[in-house]
Symmetry: C2
């Protein structure tokens, strides 16, 4: 074989020109549909037929793309975590007062938990903890990671707020973080019982007041609602 121009130099990230028959589905949206189902029904109550119908893929394609049901569940959970992290990340990063940051985080959580065509679906970490986590070590490990990721994110919040003087010296960021996580968990559970959004928001407000201290909420002129 003589030296030939070897074609495009394998940029390969745009369109790698796959060889065989093209996929009739987009893996990302299919995984999203599977996640939707698992979130509402849980692992055991969701059949492969359900998943096949929801994704538009038939079972062999499901297996080919994601593996068996358990693997699909795990990938769905990872996807859920990625999505949740993505929707929170800028609230954690941006510079803002503690109260405002907490409000943003809880509002974001509520949006996730209350979304769903057939009704609120709560938090997938909580759903998984309440079902597969007891019997499946791998899944349990993922759940543990999910729980502690939230704890750590909140703890960081409170640590930074304390450094900025928004919290008294006696405040313990770890304890406050656990309280914040507990608030997340309680609204996750209640949302699945169809507790109305207003009540959940009231719970969040009460918790925030406790965490930042009631006095700091009485700061004058915070912009809106004159």
């Amino acid at each position: 074989m003589v030296q030939k121009s070897k074609g495009p130099p394998a940029v390969a990230s745009e369109q790698p020109k796959r060889r065989g028959r093209p996929r009739a589905y987009e893996p990302d949206v299919a995984l999203g549909k599977a996640l939707d189902l698992f979130r509402t029904q849980g692992f055991a109550a969701t059949s492969l037929d359900d998943l096949s119908e929801a994704t538009g893929m038939n079972r062999p394609s499901l297996y080919g793309a994601f593996g068996d049901k358990r693997e699909l569940y795990i990938k769905s959970y990872q996807r859920y975590r990625d999505d949740a992290r993505a929707s929170m990340t800028e609230i954690f990063r941006e510079e803002m007062p503690l109260r405002q940051r907490l409000e943003g985080i809880f509002a974001c959580a509520l949006n996730i938990y209350l979304s769903g065509e057939t009704g609120p679906r709560g938090c997938f970490t909580v759903v998984t903890a309440a079902s597969e986590a007891v019997s499946d070590p791998d899944i349990r490990a993922m759940v543990l990671e999910g729980l502690s990721e939230l704890d750590k994110a909140f703890a960081n919040c409170f640590r930074r707020a304390k450094e900025k003087g928004e919290l008294p010296e006696t405040a313990d960021p770890t304890v406050l973080a656990q309280l914040a996580s507990a608030t997340v968990h309680t609204i996750a559970i209640r949302s699945r019982a169809r507790v109305p959004r207003k009540e959940l928001e009231a719970i969040v407000k009460g918790a925030i007041d406790m965490m930042v201290g009631l006095e700091s909420s009485r700061r004058p002129g915070d912009g809106r609602d004159p």
Copy 2:
């Protein structure tokens, strides 16, 4: 038929002398076994064969005694609530300082959540909220009731403590109760992820400190640990 002595006057509460073949099971213990299974595995992941084996009853007997699987689940849940209520009731009734009462309640909850031969099983209300509550209105109603029963019990606690002067006038019993419930929920979830008891107790301690106010925990000479 002539007037006859009509036999024993239907006291009927000790041994009603049932007519046919005697039961080979005790309904209460059988229901307890069913509850154990449902608590760990959830509704969908528990088969009637599992239940049959655990209770020692074969399926026709199960149906005869408790109805179909869903009815058995509902009766199991009611049993769980009754048990939980019974184990808490005296802590709620007895006269004691707020902190001590809260410690008692949370200790009791931890015992329930961490019990189980194969590992901790958490709170059945939470498990049910995370699974059947979304799709089954009747079960959802029971879960809602369970959640609000806890809220109300805690609110009563804090209201009484406030009346006795254990809490400042600014304290809101409802908000404190929601925080206490949130703490219960978070340990219920974490226990299923096998978070060790020590960590759960630390969470409880932090929450109690927040709720009763740290200063009141620094009361002198509370007995132990000189």
